[in-house]
């Protein structure tokens, strides 16, 4: 495993281009485009204000930079660095911005969710979508980029509009039986839309592409409901993580629950492998100590190496009960992700923040639990193979695959607290992001 040096970054805005050739990163108001393998600076663009959001177009030719405070979106071209485009929303304000799947339209959501404006880079036409819903995931594109679903709210009722992305024509408009829609997500096959309600009500509705209600699923009433959902890559399963610390899996044939995954604080099943991160103390020979201490020596003295030990079952994990009278409590299943080969599901129970649970989907059983020393910040699957990368806010990156797991210390000086990570599309490298910096990690083919 090779690590590059640290580069400056702000706002955790480090994104690979969809074709995998470039890496865009933001430093305050500058956008730096580097080559993904050599990290050589290819382009440098300067925006008018601090950048809050960047996104690559689907053909990797354009990048949009959104500055919400000034209400401006600037689009840069990689082919022609002289080309520029600035969209100013003016007094209407800007809250969110994204590309359309064809890479030629930009959808801006104005402040207070007054409307969504569709700006076209090809023609002079502008379209408006009225009454968009102010929720976490209000716009969803199908994987093939043909259809877009927008959540709307009129007269205190939720609706969904499905548009055809090629000509922005309204295909279907139907109401949903939700109290307060929280999010929508297309299945990877683009034929089923999952709609879920606010956390006060556990309700998942499944709509077909033509607007028919296929099924409703409600596990229980009154307690806090759905926290996160994830579709399996083959669209066979829908995993629903809820505040009662359970994941329920629905199957695509009957849309009924086939199993429930519990996340208890004590793991008793002997077939589960529990990897526990332990610190191994570095033994430094006293002869090698020199005064004043060299930088490398200092960093190696203070950085703690860690490795994984297999714990004997039964294992009890650190359980945190959140304060009862606060909103959005840190409990329940907050993170869910299927592996790209559909064989594993990684989950995180916010009540047990130091553990990552990996479930075997073929057997519908708990396979591995990774117990870390610090709280897990984020994890992401390798887009090519069943390999999971986990970061916990320290300067180590953890990799798990069915062959085993490894903890790697990033050999860089200074304080590098990895908060987020992002895999390259080829699965050969990944970007490790911290609050102020990022570095690239290159993996060899045979590793793990």
């Amino acid at each position: 495993m090779d690590f590059s040096e640290l580069f400056k970054l702000s706002g955790l805005l480090g994104r690979f281009s969809p074709d995998g050739k470039c890496l865009a990163s933001c430093v305050q108001f500058r956008l730096v485009v580097r080559d993904a393998s050599t990290l050589q600076v290819l382009q440098l663009y300067t925006c008018l204000d601090q950048i809050q959001y960047i996104e690559w177009s689907s053909d990797s030719l354009f990048i949009l930079c959104a500055m919400y405070k000034r209400g401006i979106v600037q689009v840069w071209s990689l082919e022609q660095p002289d080309w520029h485009c600035k969209i100013d929303e003016g007094s209407v304000g800007l809250v969110a911005s994204c590309w359309s799947p064809d890479g030629r339209h930009i959808l801006n959501t104005t402040e207070f969710h007054l409307r969504i404006t569709v700006w076209s880079l090809c023609t002079k036409s502008v379209s408006y979508i009225k009454y968009p819903k102010a929720c976490q995931q209000g716009i969803a594109f199908t994987k093939d980029g043909r259809y877009m679903a927008v959540a709307e709210r009129r007269d205190c009722k939720d609706f969904i509009s499905i548009f055809v992305c090629s000509d922005w024509q309204l295909l279907r408009h139907f109401d949903t039986e939700t109290q307060d829609l929280f999010g929508i997500e297309w299945a990877p096959n683009g034929c089923v839309l999952a709609v879920w309600d606010t956390c006060l009500e556990y309700k998942i509705l499944l709509y077909s592409l033509d607007g028919r209600l296929l099924s409703t699923y409600q596990a229980y009433e009154w307690s806090l409901g759905v926290k996160s959902i994830a579709w399996s890559p083959s669209s066979q399963f829908l995993a629903i993580g809820s505040y009662d610390e359970k994941v329920r899996i629905l199957n695509h044939v009957t849309w009924k629950k086939i199993t429930e995954f519990e996340h208890p604080a004590t793991i008793a099943n002997t077939k589960t492998i529990v990897y526990k991160e332990v610190e191994k103390s570095l033994s430094v020979e006293t002869e090698r100590l020199s005064f004043p201490p060299t930088r490398a020596l200092a960093s190696s003295l203070f950085s703690t190496q860690s490795k994984y030990d297999v714990s004997q079952v039964p294992v009890s994990l650190q359980y945190i009960k959140p304060v009862a009278d606060r909103a959005n409590p840190k409990m329940g299943i907050g993170m869910l992700a299927f592996s790209p080969d559909n064989c594993f599901l990684a989950t995180k129970n916010d009540n047990i923040p130091n553990a990552v649970w990996i479930w075997d989907i073929q057997k519908l059983k708990l396979f591995v639990v990774l117990e870390q020393l610090c709280a897990v910040q984020s994890f992401q699957w390798d887009p090519r193979q069943p390999r999971l990368a986990v970061c916990t806010g320290n300067s180590k990156v953890y990799l798990w695959s069915p062959a085993g797991c490894v903890a790697v210390q990033v050999p860089l000086e200074g304080d590098f607290q990895i908060v987020s990570l992002s895999w390259h599309a080829s699965g050969d490298s990944m970007a490790l992001l911290s609050k102020d910096n990022f570095c690239m990690c290159y993996l060899e083919r045979e590793e793990v």
Binding site: V92, F112, L121, R146, D167, L209
Partner: protein, 559 residues
């Protein structure tokens, strides 16, 4: 007749008092004696005297005899009188009567004894029963008390149960109440939320109106130039046709998805059916055909025919790839039946095996032990042989190691090794020398080439100098023609040169004309060389020499 008197059984005693009591009672009514059932104790000899003297005295002998006779006759004895006259006593009959009376007495005594014994027995029985009764009564008391205690406990438990039920009900009621509260609060909350949302929507609408009315010039997009579409096509208008096309495409997408899923399901179904068929065949093959009883056979009859039918139908089915309910049911039912039969069969076999095993256990043990011993013997032999072999080998090795003790052999061996090494080294030396020669040759050739290059460069520099000079001269003569003259560019200079040379000196020797087009290339090369070489040959001396040459050549030609 007489009064029945309750006469207690007097204890056998020789007390004359008793007798007197008795006799006194007797004296009271002699007539009543006749009908009295008397139980008389056996009088003792003394009392007999008294008894006799009391009964019969000298005065009433005849009366007493007649009385006795009457008594005896009433009792069934023959009369004691000799004849029916009276006064003469029949001694024989008297003796017989006496004997009979004695016998009767004995009998009575015996009966009395028996009765007494029985009486005693009954008395003891009664005591025993009374004891039992007392004990049972005690037990009854105890159990009654126990029952009372248990009842008490039962009552307590029941009351506890009732309390718990009550509590449960209360809890349930509370839960229900809380749920109702929650639901009412939720509806109230929703209502409030809706109200606030409506207000919020109104504000948004107002804001939207204001924003749109302002016609903010700032809301605009500035773009350098519009970009072409990603797919290269031109944008299309939105018409009904496009709407219809979109709908069509959407349905196509959905249909293709369903078709794909259906195909997958069909494939799965076909595989599962194949597996079931295979299972069925295997089950049938496992089931032994002879052991079936006639009853089973009769069951199998329809089953077999079912099987045949099934197989036939399923084969047909595979050909047609239909899947109707009845065929599916038949298949599953037949498999279930076969499986049950197989299970029974396996259970039977298990029983048989267990029976057989328990019966023939000993023999097996014996046999196995013998085999085991044979095997161990064999293994031991093998081990011994191996050990011997190892020993001999060790000896041989030692001999080998020991034998070259003399120096000659060691020296020879060492020499052999050394020779080998030396030969190898010699070969390597040879190769090395060859390579060295090759390198030397190459180096020499390179130096020669470098020298040649240097010479050539010199010559080119001189040529260039003369040529430039010539150009310069031509430039100074024809100023009007020189619009496009740019001195440094080799290309333009050469073309002008060509023209001028062609015009002015058509009689030039061909090699001169030819030399001009040749020069641009070497000039270029010289430029390249001068750019790249760190030790650039100075231009000026070459340049100086060149024009001289050129001028000389001109001179030659003009001359």
């Amino acid at each position: 007749m007489g009064d029945w008197k309750a006469i207690t059984v007097p204890v056998l005693s020789s007390d004359s008092k008793n007798i007197f009591q008795y006799t006194s009672a007797k004296k009271v009514s002699p007539s009543s004696m006749n009908s009295q059932v008397l139980r008389l104790p056996l009088p003792s000899s003394k009392s007999t005297h008294g008894f006799f003297s009391a009964f019969c005295t000298e005065e009433n002998i005849e009366q007493s005899v007649s009385y006795l006779d009457r008594e005896l006759t009433t009792l069934g004895f023959p009369s004691i009188y000799a004849e029916s006259k009276g006064k003469e006593l029949n001694l024989i009959s008297i003796i017989n009567c006496m004997n009979e009376l004695l016998v009767l007495q004995h009998k009575n005594l015996r009966a009395q004894e028996e009765v007494e014994i029985q009486h005693l027995k009954l008395g003891s029985d009664m005591e025993h029963l009374q004891n039992c009764y007392a004990k049972l009564k005690e037990q009854l008391e105890l159990s009654k008390r126990e029952i009372v205690g248990l009842q008490e406990r039962d009552r307590q438990l029941q009351s506890k149960n009732r309390n718990l039920h009550q509590l449960l009900k209360n809890e349930k009621d509370e839960v229900q109440k809380l749920q109702n509260i929650i639901s009412s609060r939720a509806t109230q909350y929703n209502h409030d939320m809706k109200r606030k949302e409506r207000e919020y929507n109104k504000l948004k609408e107002r804001l939207h109106q204001l924003v749109m009315n302002k016609k903010d010039k700032k809301i605009a997009m500035e773009v350098l130039n519009y970009v072409g579409r990603a797919d290269g096509k031109r944008g299309a208008w939105r018409t009904d046709k496009t709407e219809a096309r979109n709908e069509e495409e959407m349905y196509k997408v959905l249909l293709s998805d369903y078709e794909q899923r259906q195909k997958q399901l069909l494939v799965e179904n076909a595989e599962l059916k194949k597996v079931l068929q295979q299972m069925k065949k295997e089950i049938i093959s496992l089931l032994p055909p002879q052991k079936q009883k006639p009853k089973e056979r009769s069951e199998d009859g329809p089953v077999l025919s079912d099987l045949e039918e099934d197989i036939g139908e399923l084969n047909k089915e595979n050909m047609w790839e239909l899947s109707c309910e009845t065929v599916r049911e038949q298949l599953t039912n037949s498999i279930r039946k076969q499986w049950r039969m197989l299970k029974n069969h396996v259970e039977k076999l298990d029983n048989q095996v267990s029976r057989v095993r328990s019966g023939a256990l000993n023999e097996k043990d014996v046999i196995s032990r013998e085999d085991h011993e044979l095997e161990t013997e064999k293994l031991e032999l093998e081990i011994q042989q191996c050990k011997e072999m190892i020993r001999t080998q060790q000896q041989l090795l030692q001999q080998q190691l020991m034998s070259p003790c003399d120096d000659d052999t060691t020296l020879i061996l060492q020499d052999c090794y050394l020779l080998e090494e030396r030969e190898r080294l010699q070969e390597e030396w040879r190769l090395f020398r060859e390579q060295k020669k090759n390198f030397e040759k190459e180096r020499r050739s390179f130096t020669e080439a470098a020298i040649r290059l240097g010479l050539e460069r010199k010559a080119f520099e001189e040529d260039r100098g003369t040529w430039l000079k010539q150009q310069f001269l031509s430039m100074s003569t024809d100023c009007k023609h020189s619009e496009n003259v740019t001195a440094p560019s080799a290309f333009l200079g050469s073309s002008d040169q060509d023209n001028r040379l062609a015009i002015s000196t058509s009689q030039r020797k061909p090699h001169c004309v030819l030399s001009v087009p040749v020069s641009p290339e070497p000039c270029q090369m010289s430029q390249y060389i001068t750019h790249n070489s760190s030790s650039a040959a100075s231009k000026t001396p070459a340049g100086d020499s060149k024009p001289n040459q050129w001028v000389e050549r001109d001179k030659e030609e003009t001359e």
